[in-house]
């Protein structure tokens, strides 16, 4: 083998290692900032806010999986976020009411009797189980019903949004059972720990941030697994996958269910950190807010949804307090500009930045850059899946 040959082989090996384990370095950096730097430097108030963004980021990461990798635009993740949040809130409400007690709002709006389906949420373990099982079952049934019948694309998106509208409407209507428009609030304890204790607040933050890191690792592993490859392939050319003998519905269903569970866990963490859950946190506009961070950060990248969700959450709390009207314009413009000019989000700029790096490794890698980053940009040239438009009657 010639010198040049050895050099190229070495470079590609280096590159492969970097491509495989590079994200781990990124996750480690993120973990440092979230788990070491932030708790060490931020005030309790800011840390609580960051915790809320972490809870939202969990839902956003799920959207990244379903939408970015799976091509399913989920406009109703608020529903699953809400399932987890309400499960947690019900448990904390019952904790506040004490053993055998009834949540305060039920005596306020109703006659003080508790619906029987509240009863199991007295138990902490059951609540934790429900936070995972409830969204899994709901998303499985719904996903199975519509994905198996090959409902996809815009139809799927509209159905999920309709689901969010229906869910919020249902919550508002059942004021005696779910607190209605005001939602559930005024909690005192989280699994026996006083919520007003700053130490507990910090630990809550640590749990939320830790979950973000944990799910980053899970997603990283998922994306590089055979399943991750299949999911991307299904997104880009569903019919080809079907011809190869796979059932695209099953592949997408897994992503949909996992995304729902992640949203639910995010919702469950949101409640103790925010101290409230109400229909306005889970309705269609809230679901679209969850998408904003994903679109901004980069839907199909590993880091995009997390960083985007934190960025959107942060700018929302700073901008919307000072300039509430401008915030809506800003949000609207964000959607338009990102979708028009940067559909891959900020993350899609990363390969371009990297290729500017004046290192021999990168320059040698440049030739294969397009194949390396295939996950980040959905292919547009294959129109196999695009349904022929129907005729007008």
């Amino acid at each position: 083998m010639t010198d040049a040959g050895i050099k190229v082989a070495g470079v590609t090996r280096q590159k492969r290692l970097l491509n495989t384990y590079g994200p781990l370095i990124g996750i480690a950096v993120l973990a440092f900032f979230l788990l070491v730097w932030a708790p060490g430097t931020m005030t309790a108030f800011r840390l609580g806010n960051l915790g809320k963004y972490c809870a939202l980021a969990l839902a956003s990461m799920g959207i990244g999986l379903a939408w970015g990798r799976g091509g399913m635009l989920v406009l109703g993740q608020g529903v699953f976020f809400g399932l987890g949040a309400y499960a947690m809130a019900m448990h904390m409400k019952l904790e506040a009411a004490g053993p055998g007690g009834v949540p305060d709002f039920m005596t306020l709006y109703g006659n003080g009797t508790m619906p029987s389906w509240w009863e199991p949420f007295r138990s902490g373990p059951f609540t934790l189980f429900a936070i995972v099982a409830l969204p899994a079952v709901v998303s499985f049934i719904l996903g199975y019903a519509i994905l198996k019948r090959r409902v996809k694309g815009a139809y799927f998106a509209i159905l999920t949004q309709a689901m969010a509208v229906a869910f919020a409407t249902l919550l508002i209507a059942t004021i005696k059972q779910t607190g209605g428009f005001n939602g559930l609030n005024t909690f005192t304890t989280f699994f026996g720990h006083n919520l007003y204790d700053p130490k507990v607040g910090k630990n809550l933050y640590m749990i939320a941030a830790g979950l973000v890191i944990l799910f980053m690792l899970i997603l990283w592993q998922l994306y590089r697994s055979r399943y991750g490859e299949l999911l991307v392939a299904t997104r880009d050319a569903e019919e080809r996958i079907r011809f190869l003998g796979y059932d695209p519905a099953n592949i997408k269903l897994v992503a949909f269910v996992v995304a729902a569970i992640m949203a639910s866990i995010g919702g469950a963490m949101f409640v103790p950190l925010a101290g409230i859950i109400s229909p306005s946190n889970v309705d269609a506009p809230a679901s679209i807010m969850l998408l904003a961070g994903v679109a901004l950060g980069g839907r199909s990248s590993l880091f995009g949804p997390v960083l985007g969700a934190i960025a959107v959450g942060y700018s929302r709390s700073t901008l919307s307090e000072k300039f509430p009207t401008q915030w809506t314009y800003f949000l609207g413009a964000l959607f338009i500009v990102i979708m028009l000019f940067l559909p891959g989000g900020v993350a899609s700029l990363w390969p371009k930045v990297r290729s500017l790096w004046p290192s021999s490794t990168r320059r040698a890698a440049k030739g294969t850059a397009s194949s390396v980053d295939r996950d980040h940009e959905p292919t547009r040239d294959v129109d196999l899946d695009q349904a022929e438009p129907a005729a007008l009657a």
């Binding site: 019948r149 249902l170 679209i288 609207g332 959607f335 559909p343 196999l384 438009p389 009657a393």
Partner: protein, 294 residues
């Protein structure tokens, strides 16, 4: 008889509004596969056009007659502007269009709120719409009858344009086979623009009808956009008769469910019914046979 006629008639009127909201959608969705979430805001624009015309022309009867074509043109031009500035760059990415138009609808809502205030404004109905007629013992407001007639007139006008006019033929050709239409010298770009103008304009007309019933409001469109899309999906994309039937069915079913349970439960049950329907007929009520794989 009241138990049956009341929900039936009010439901038909709701269906008529849904039809007006959905006609534009089915046109743009059917032809270009474009999801225009800002279509609800074109309803809102139509409603505000009705309100503003009334500020200028005080006679309620005359102002409504003026407002209808005005709303059509204003909303249509806005739709055209949207097509030229945003949508035309994204025809190959329907889901991205959906999100971009969500952004447009946020901007339009906020703009209306800055311009007219967050509170809604009332629109006075002309005196000849104030009355009621008795149908099987139910005192049916003229307004609802007017909405139904308006929706049917819009539908008839649209199908006449599609069937008999030169543009209509071009639109149908583009919907059926874009490439072939192009080779035959149809400027599909122009057809897209005209379709968008027509579809958005129809939403504007629907907005006038809504303004007569419930006044104006910056967020008026959000209540209609999802049901309108469900109507399009149920009816079968690009199918006018399907849209008509689906709008009517959704309106009447929701009205009956509202009567039996409550307004919010009706929404939830309607959603469940739509999901069940779609698992049985994913293509909607009416379909055109194509050779596409999906």
């Amino acid at each position: 008889m009241d138990v049956l006629t009341t929900p039936f008639l009010t439901g038909t009127a709701t269906g008529a509004i849904l039809l007006l909201a959905a006609l534009g959608l089915t046109l743009t969705f059917g032809q270009m596969g474009v999801i225009n979430m800002a279509n609800g805001e074109f309803l809102m624009v139509g409603a505000y056009v009705a309100y503003m015309t009334q500020q200028v022309i005080s006679g309620a009867g005359v102002s409504i007659v003026v407002a209808l074509p005005m709303a059509f043109i204003v909303a249509g031009l806005l739709g055209l502007l949207l097509e030229v500035t945003v949508i035309q760059w994204m025809y190959k990415r329907p889901l991205d269009t959906l999100l971009a138009t969500v952004g447009v609808s946020l901007v339009l809502q906020q703009f209306a709120q800055d311009l007219f205030g967050a509170q809604g404004d009332p629109v006075t109905a002309p005196s000849w719409l104030g009355g009621r007629i008795s149908v099987f013992g139910y005192e049916w407001p003229h307004r609802q009858l007017f909405t139904i007639l308006l929706a049917l007139a819009a539908l008839a006008a649209l199908s006449a344009v599609l069937k008999y006019s030169f543009f209509g033929r071009q639109i149908r050709a583009t919907v059926q086979n874009r490439q072939l239409a192009e080779t035959l010298g149809v400027s599909t770009r122009n057809v897209d623009r005209i379709t968008f103008f027509l579809g958005s304009g129809l939403a504007g007309v629907g907005g006038v009808a809504i303004a007569l019933i419930s006044g104006t409001n910056p967020t008026l469109g959000t209540a209609y956009i999802i049901p309108a899309f469900l109507v399009v999906v149920i009816g079968g994309v690009g199918q006018l008769k399907g849209t008509l039937l689906a709008a009517w069915a959704v309106g009447v079913v929701t009205a009956f469910l509202t009567d039996w349970t409550s307004g919010s439960m009706a929404q939830v049950i309607t959603f469940a019914l739509v999901v069940i329907f779609l698992t049985m007929r994913p293509q909607g009520l009416f379909t055109v046979r194509t050779r596409s794989l999906a």
